[in-house]
Subunit: 195 residues, 2 copies
């Protein structure tokens, strides 16, 4: 029962964050989305910060579930990962959701907030390890050329992160699609795939 | 005389921003750095926002000066540009300056602030045009393979932006160096340079 309530509160936090952004977000906004009292929210989570860390953990769980669902040869799994990280759930929409913008706000705060920095570092580390792992498997199977997997993962993920930032902050709609095509056609199929 | 005072105020804004970050920055902080009164600051710039837009314009001027100083064949000019954009003045330091973090705060605000968005879009557009221009010259001279210059510029700049974000927010010291080597060795010298 407690678990279910916590899930409801985290889902409400996600929706409230999409709508209000991080800076303006209040516990009242979350309670409103959750259709519950602020007392119930506070019973489960002491602070707004705790709630946002819980949301980042939830995001990581969802990422792991989706990664587990990526199938096929290494090249296809790598392309699916790039697509998932670049577009998230926004691929079919014209604009990124407010959530992407809120996430950037959290990143900008991370320098001054230990809890955000620790959780974002954990999320990033898992994403990096996942991409590095797919690269290593593909090198071992001979699908990829014997590149430096760690460095190539840094490169791919930096490009994904940069394209999302440009999309979210400047509404540069063309950025993610251009970077997606560059990463797939020029990097992955261009020099990474061994053929 | 007015021009000189404005320059002094913009330089003071830069230093105050490095120290305090954007959210906490006050006109008093800027006046303190400038060794002048808040009245003088307000005489030249109505709001904190105006000052930050002036600072972004100043940054763009400096970028143009530095680009003009980049010499040599297209490959070397492209590498110099990547280095300049990735490390700025922080190459020799262990940590990025507070200014990089403040710039990320401004980007995160751009969604809600028309003046920041317009100026950041102008800065980004000039940087993109510069990189695209060097690529086009190199393609014309036969130094680069005939790639899609626009898309390759998006790719390089997204990777630079993403690496800086990771460095600034999570103190991931290795990120810019790994991405620098990936962009130079794998992208530029790997498949972009025609040999």
């Amino acid at each position: 029962m407690g678990e279910e309530t916590r899930d409801r509160i985290v889902t409400a936090t996600y929706r409230a964050l999409c709508e209000h952004g991080y800076a303006a977000l209040t516990i009242q906004d979350i309670a409103d989305e959750c259709d519950c009292s602020t007392a119930l929210v506070h019973y489960h989570y002491d602070t707004k910060e705790d709630l946002l860390v819980a949301l980042l953990e939830d995001l990581l769980d969802r990422f792991e579930e989706r990664v587990a669902a990526c199938e096929g040869p290494p090249r296809d799994r790598l392309v699916s990962l790039v697509e998932l990280l670049l577009f998230g759930d926004d691929r079919t929409t014209d604009a990124p959701s407010g959530f992407s913008a809120a996430l950037l706000e959290l990143r900008a705060q991370a320098r001054h907030n230990d809890a955000f920095r620790a959780q974002l570092a954990e999320n990033d580390a898992l994403v990096h390890a996942t991409v590095t792992g797919v690269l290593e498997q593909g090198i071992e199977s001979g699908d990829f050329r014997p590149v430096d997997a760690e460095r190539t993962a840094e490169h791919l993920l930096a490009a994904v992160r940069g394209a999302r930032t440009r999309w979210v902050t400047l509404e540069a709609d063309a950025a993610p699609e251009a970077v997606y095509r560059a990463l797939v056609e020029d990097v992955i199929d261009g020099w990474l795939v061994d053929r």
